[in-house]
């Protein structure tokens, strides 16, 4: 489903070049629940941005859903994002002047879905996360957990093949975090592929595979349900 070959990303800040990813190779299969771990600045968010077509790699190749993404025009990239990928962020990223259902319906708006259908599908998605009664509320009127569940509803409203989440529990208490993870687990069981960047042990406990990222490189990979860490990868780390 996702294939990264020798992906590099370098940010240029004035005269300084800051490498964020350095030759990342990664394969993610369909319906996999993958967690990316690493300290701040390790390149987790950059990796998610590139996979989610929010950013382009400086070098290397990315194949998404079996198709190469290199040179894809903006319209195609936007269409793929809007119809196949759901995003969940640490800070929820809800638009403050839109009501909960309007936030959820936003991807449908850009997919060209009519208003009545948008409303209906948004309410259905909110029901899925248990928030249908809060549909008319503005984000400021919701708790942190509720905001994140609205963000999840927005991610799942399009029926995405892939859900990318960047620290989804970072701003939540433990109870809300558990609710959110149950939701993700449910979506994964329904068929969605999940890729989550996190520090939270709770999240890793749900993962099928855990990648450790440091200084823009994958330095470790663990498959808790399958057994031991893969020492060969660790050996690849340059000294």
């Amino acid at each position: 489903m996702i294939e990264l070959q020798n992906v590099h990303k370098i940010y240029v800040k004035g005269r300084v070049k800051v490498p964020a990813l350095r030759g990342v190779n990664l394969n993610v299969t369909e319906q996999e629940f993958l967690v990316v771990q690493g300290p701040s600045g390790s390149g987790k968010s950059t990796l998610l941005n590139i996979i989610g077509l929010l950013d382009e790699p400086t070098d290397g190749r990315l194949r998404l859903f079996g198709e190469p993404t290199q040179g894809l025009p903006d319209r195609e990239r936007s269409r793929l994002r809007g119809r196949s990928i759901g995003f969940v962020f640490q800070s929820f990223n809800l638009i403050s002047h839109l009501r909960a259902w309007e936030n959820v319906a936003l991807p449908l708006y850009y997919a060209g879905v009519g208003r009545a259908e948008r409303h209906q599908r948004a309410i259905t998605a909110l029901k899925q996360v248990g928030l249908s009664e809060r549909a008319e509320h503005l984000p400021a009127e919701l708790s942190g957990g509720e905001e994140q569940r609205v963000a999840i509803a927005r991610a799942l409203v399009i029926g995405p093949k892939l859900i990318l989440a960047d620290e989804p529990t970072g701003n939540l208490d433990s109870e809300s975090s558990l609710d959110v993870m149950k939701e993700f687990s449910h979506l994964n069981k329904e068929g969605a592929t999940l890729l989550i960047a996190t520090h939270d042990p709770l999240v890793t406990s749900f993962a099928e595979r855990i990648l450790a990222l440091r200084d823009g490189q994958i330095v470790d990979e663990v498959s808790p349900n399958r057994g031991e860490p893969r020492a060969t990868l660790r050996d690849d780390v340059p000294s």
Binding site: N49, S78, R79, G82, N93, L106, Y110, A111
Partner: protein
């Protein structure tokens, strides 16, 4: 998410105010144009003049009359003015073709129009009839040997093109310059032709120009427009200034939208994340800009109408015309153009970058676009406009007040009329005693004038005015330097003089004129005072004033200054004076009475109306500048909210925070004000040329521009800073983190 400080309210206000001003300016312009059209319609807008290098003859009239596009042709000959030998009338006569009255839509009050066979006949204008024959019907009588066959009905005074005919007489073409009776002496008597179009006027004009190669045509409406040249130019300037203001509002809106884009970059990121394309983002901001401009435009139109309704002095004759239909589309276009760059800015941010700009510090690095430049531009334009406005108002007021000394409606001037049908009375000092004993007259002073050569001046003749006893008590002049003539000097006829400021600077080349000598008819006079150049005494623009006795018997023209007593009704006294001189000079024209106070009041009224209109434009410019600065400072402070929280936690007082905002604002407004001031100074020359009589403009009021720039900075920077300073340090740090 933080709400944008570059709120939609500010955009609406900026567009609404600019649209309102444009609406009003167009209304004022349209009012005058409608008035001109109405005047042309009285004669028929399908009438046009034809001129050529040479004069026209009857053959030309016949050629044009045969054209299918022409309904009728009349000829207008040359006119001549003057006293005729042995006559007491000063009459202007116009030679015309026999169908002229019909072509020019001139109704008769009595008698008949011309026929082609008429020779040695005359038709009188209404005022000519009134002056010579009074109430009697003159038809059938003779004037200068010509039979009076008709009298024109009185033409209303607002009909600038035709009202002169009230004071003229019409004679058949070819009557010659010498006498009404000598008709038929010229073969080509017409200087202009009046053509009435059949059907489309433009087609008729083309047909006429083809028939008479080299001829030019002027529609009657254009002729009327020429009489309103100054008003039309002023209106055009107002409309252009209003359009500039709308463009300025557009740039302010562009700045506001740019800042809004930066403030909403995170929202853009979210939208892009969920599938919005660059076109979607472009469309989002374009639609928002155009929608806001449209809403502002509609609000502005309502506001403009309200102002015209509530403040008729701003646009007393304003009316709505077809051109007003363009205002809203124009506003929408300005909104669209203003949103183009900000929308493009919004569309080209990559989604990942837009999301990363959620950090306020990140947005700061992204920059603040041209917001600073646009705010400065508005302040520059407003400052230069303010400088010109202040100079216009202040210097004109100074000019009006320095023109005359203590004048009121009880002081006026009695003089021979400058233009009259009957010969003007030759007033003299002999008339003074009769005037002095007239009931209600407190004081009457004789004044004589003539032009004499004076050494040291640039012109061959200088206007000298002699003033008689009682002058010193009137206090008519504002003496700028030195003193007025004293009673003993006037009584004794001492050789002392008052000199106009301009003449003094020419003659004495910057030296103190007081005590200097000048020679008038070989006699030395000592300068005792200097007065303003623009004072008009009698019929001349006085340049030197001396005691009357000095040149007694040598004065060419006389007039009288009259001051009524406080008990008397000035109007009644004026009427009594006219009657007095009618009695003294029974066959002459009535004396003319000029009231300086009324003149000054009229000038003030015109000045106030102009100043009001310019003031609105300048005020709008300042407001737009203030909005731009306010928004920019709000945004800068928003970016620094966290920093301000940290500063407050570290001990900074609220005043320090307010000072920070004010200093940021002053860094924009003060340099902009100074640039505006320089532009204002550069613009004074063209303004003086346009307004003609405006006295020299000065630096004296420059401090107001600087003070205004500082004031705008204090308000536009201080207000948002004050709001931020009210936040607790903890709240400021918390908000800044978001």
């Amino acid at each position: 998410m933080n709400r944008s400080p570059s709120g939609r309210g500010l955009i609406l206000i900026a567009v609404a105010l600019a649209t309102a001003v444009l609406w009003i300016s167009l209304g004022v312009r349209e009012g005058l144009e409608a008035e001109i059209r109405a005047l042309a319609d009285r004669i028929g807008a399908n009438l046009f003049y034809v001129h050529a290098e040479g004069d026209f003859g009857e053959d030309d009239l016949a050629r044009l009359a045969n054209l299918a596009e022409v309904a009728g042709v009349a000829g207008e000959g040359t006119y001549s003015t003057g006293y005729f030998p042995g006559q007491t009338y000063n009459i202007t006569r116009l030679e015309v073709s026999s169908n002229y009255l019909n072509a020019f839509q001139l109704p008769l009050a009595a008698g008949r129009s011309f026929t082609p066979q008429d020779k040695a006949v005359v038709i009188l204008g209404w005022e000519v009839k009134e002056a010579i024959f009074g109430e009697a019907n003159p038809v059938g009588q003779t004037l200068d040997g010509a039979e009076i066959i008709g009298v024109l009905a009185q033409i209303p005074s607002d009909d600038e093109l035709r009202r002169r005919l009230n004071n003229w007489v019409l004679v058949p073409a070819g009557s010659g310059p010498k006498s009404f009776a000598q008709a038929g002496s010229s073969e080509r008597p017409y200087g202009a032709l009046l053509v009435r179009a059949r059907g489309d006027t433009r087609r008729a004009q083309s047909a006429v120009m083809r028939a008479l190669p080299g001829a030019t045509t002027t529609p009657i409406s254009k002729r009327y427009q020429m009489y309103f040249h100054t008003e039309r130019t002023t209106n055009r300037l107002l409309v252009i200034s209003s359009l500039v203001m709308l463009v300025l509002a557009g740039t302010v809106v562009a700045g506001l939208l740019s800042l809004s884009v930066m403030n909403r970059s995170w929202e853009i990121g979210v939208r892009r994340t969920v599938g919005a394309t660059t076109q979607d983002i472009l469309r989002l901001f374009l639609v928002e800009g155009v929608w806001l401009a449209g809403a502002g435009g509609i609000a502005g139109i309502c506001l403009g109408e309200l102002v015209l309704f509530l403040a008729p002095s701003i646009g007393d004759s304003a009316s709505i015309g077809a051109v007003h239909a363009l205002v809203l589309p124009l506003t929408l276009t300005v909104g669209l153009l203003a949103s183009l760059h900000p929308s493009w800015q919004a569309a080209r941010i990559s989604p990942a970058r837009a999301l990363s700009l959620r950090t306020l510090e990140g947005r700061r690095r992204y920059g603040i676009g041209g917001g600073r430049l646009i705010a400065a531009l508005a302040v520059i334009i407003a400052s230069s406009g303010l400088f010109l406005l202040i100079n216009l108002v202040v210097s004109s007021q100074q000019s009006l007040t320095s023109l005359w000394g203590s004048i009121d409606e009880r002081t006026f001037l009695v003089q021979s009329p400058r233009q009259s049908i009957l010969a003007a009375p030759d007033l003299s000092a002999r008339d003074l005693p009769s005037l002095q004993v007239l009931p209600g007259v407190e004081a009457a002073v004789v004044s004589g004038s003539r032009t004499v050569p004076i050494k040291g001046t640039n012109s061959p003749g200088t206007s000298v005015e002699g003033v008689g006893e009682g002058w010193e008590g009137l206090g008519l002049l504002n003496i700028e330097q030195g003193r007025d003539l004293s009673a003993p000097e006037i009584t004794e006829g001492e050789k002392v003089a008052l000199v106009a400021k301009g003449l003094a600077s020419t003659m004495f080349k910057g030296a103190d004129p007081i005590g200097q000598r000048l020679n008038i008819r070989n006699a030395p006079y000592t300068v005792v005072g200097v007065f303003n150049d623009n004072v008009v005494l009698g019929t001349l623009r006085a340049q030197v004033i001396v005691p009357y006795q000095c040149l007694e018997g040598l004065w060419f023209y006389h007039c009288f200054f009259v001051h009524t007593d406080s008990e008397a009704e000035p109007g009644e006294v004026r009427a009594a004076i006219v009657d007095l001189f009618q009695g003294i000079y029974p066959d002459k024209a009535k004396v003319e009475i000029v009231a300086p106070a009324a003149q000054v009041a009229e000038w003030r009224q015109t000045l106030t109306a102009t100043a009001n209109r310019l003031g609105i434009l300048v005020g709008l410019g300042l407001l737009l500048g203030a909005i731009g600065v306010f928004n920019l400072i709000s945004f800068l402070l928003l970016l620094r909210t966290r920093e301000l929280g940290i500063r407050r936690a570290a001990g900074a007082t609220r005043n320090r925070i307010v000072t920070l905002g004010v200093v940021e604002a002053l860094k924009i407004t003060v340099p902009a004000g100074l640039i505006g001031l320089s532009l204002g100074l550069a613009g004074t020359g063209p303004l003086q040329r346009f307004l003609g009589q405006l006295p020299s403009l000065s630096w004296n009021w420059a401090w107001i521009i600087v003070a205004t720039a500082i004031g705008v900075g204090l308000l536009a920077g201080g207000w948002p800073a004050w709001r931020v300073s009210r936040l607790s340090p903890a709240e400021a740090m918390r908000r800044g983190k978001r």
